[in-house]
């Protein structure tokens, strides 16, 4: 009781501290870069970590300059639109402002950042502030970096296995005892390799699931946002309305992929009408593009996966964007000449 009373007194005293000094002090203590912008994306406050991240020598980061001199505009605009939509949808149901995770690239293309963005509403309409926390993820964002780190774990068992095999094949005259010993090596090393592989597979899955460019989001919010996105297009969109599940997605990448797929179908098949239906399964959500007409063979779908996605952060292929979310695409032919191109994304795993 006494502790609670003391705490309340301390809180009152804290309120007497100049709020700007308090904010500056808190910001400087954070290890991640923090930038606060106004509604026009002009920088209002930033901390030292942000200055370090964005190479202050170039003087790109200063109060009053545009955030988009530092990092690309499209991912930020997407995140802002989705956050506004999310805030509209949950305005009466939550005390906290939602935040959104996404990846962005420095305009000088030297760094990739995992960004967490929140909106600070203002009393003046449309004059909100945005807060973005930047974490440098350049070392792992490129998919090839992961392989270099993990591949060494395979070297020892592979070497042992190869040595044993070469000994067996190159020295057939060896004694039965030696032969038996080498055969044991084969068994042991095969097992070790299998286990090493399983652990790598598991680590990769966890890594991909926890990657900080994926944002946690309720499916009804995401589907509603995608429906709005497609509203201006000719695509008819339907999604489950009364049932929501947790998803972990790269929302910016997903929208780009959906746009790309819709564009590909329209160019390749020129359907009179293109429908996008969303279904929620036990383990996946499915985005089904449906049209009357010839389906797209798997061979073509597989090559589509290698398409570079325009405006994606790091110029990634569709396969890389989808696989980072645990997703994939495939096509199906139905009766009555109806065809489907399905994009599947896993539901968020409970950690």
């Amino acid at each position: 009781m006494a502790e609670a009373k003391q705490c309340a007194t301390d809180t009152d005293s804290l309120q007497e501290v100049d709020s700007e000094i308090l904010l500056q002090t808190l910001l400087q203590e954070l290890k991640d870069g923090v930038i606060v912008c106004n509604h026009e994306a002009k920088i209002v406050i930033f901390n030292q970590a942000a200055a370090d991240l964005f190479d202050q020598d170039n003087k790109l980061l200063s109060k009053g300059t545009s955030l988009f001199r530092l990092c690309h505009q499209a991912p930020v605009k997407h995140a802002l639109d989705l956050l506004h939509y999310q805030m509209q949808e949950i305005k009466n149901n939550s005390k906290h402002n939602p935040s959104l995770q996404f990846i962005n690239e420095a305009t000088n293309q030297k760094k990739f950042f995992s960004c967490r963005m929140s909106i600070l509403p203002s009393k003046v309409a449309h004059k909100h502030f945005i807060v973005i926390i930047f974490e440098d993820v350049s070392t792992w964002y490129r998919p090839d970096n992961l392989l270099f780190k993990k591949i060494d774990e395979f070297r020892a068992p592979m070497t042992n296995l190869r040595a044993a095999v070469e000994s067996l094949t190159e020295h057939p005259e060896m004694s039965p005892v030696m032969r038996s010993a080498f055969e044991n090596v084969l068994v042991q090393e095969s097992l070790t390799l299998s286990e090493t592989f399983d652990s790598l597979d598991h680590a990769c899955n966890l890594f991909m699931q926890s990657q900080s460019h994926l944002t946690e989001i309720k499916s009804d919010i995401l589907f509603g946002f995608i429906a709005n996105h497609f509203r201006s297009s000719e695509i008819r969109f339907t999604a489950p309305k009364y049932f929501s599940v947790d998803l972990k997605v790269d929302s910016y990448g997903l929208i780009l992929v959906l746009d790309h797929l819709a564009d590909k179908i329209q160019r390749k098949r020129k359907p009179a009408e293109l429908l996008c239906e969303i279904h929620t399964g036990k383990r996946f959500v499915y985005f089904d593009f449906i049209w009357q007409g010839e389906f797209i063979p798997t061979a073509v779908v597989q090559t589509m996966l290698e398409d570079k996605i325009l405006n994606s952060v790091g110029e990634l292929s569709m396969a890389v964007i989808l696989h980072s979310m645990g997703g994939d695409i495939w096509s199906k032919k139905h009766d009555k000449a109806k065809s489907t191109l399905r994009l599947a994304l896993p539901l968020a795993k409970k950690v």
Partner: protein
């Protein structure tokens, strides 16, 4: 009469083991190294079961699977996909395209034998 199994894989080392295992169980075995060859062999004589690798040159396992299921004559062929792709969504994709079962490499040989036996009754 022995049931026929077609092995479709471009890696000779695994083909060697699969042939050995299947013959030991009393099946008649034929092997090919890519999807195109597989389609030619199947058109000539449809096997009872196919052990089908996913990643192959000249028509991958997904394409073979979808072509087979598009032809009513080949609906009864059992397909087990063998793949180095271990993500949940790839299993979902293989089954959606018509595979009866899906095994991720590396696998226990006994598990594969059991799956083959179970599918061929």
């Amino acid at each position: 009469m022995a049931k026929n199994i077609l092995i479709v894989d471009d890696a000779p080392n695994i083909v060697l083991s699969l042939e050995f295992l299947m013959k030991k169980e009393g099946y008649a075995v034929q092997s090919v190294g890519n999807g195109e060859e597989a389609m030619r062999v199947i058109a000539d004589k449809a096997p009872d079961l196919i052990l089908l690798d996913v990643m192959m040159p000249r028509k991958d396992g997904y394409e073979v699977c979808q072509e087979l299921r598009a032809n009513p004559d080949w609906q009864n062929i059992k397909i087990i996909m063998l793949t180095a792709k271990g993500r949940d969504v790839e299993r979902e994709k293989g089954l959606a395209l018509g595979a009866n079962d899906y095994i991720t490499k590396p696998f226990a040989t006994q598990e594969l034998v059991e799956k083959v036996k179970s599918l061929l009754g």
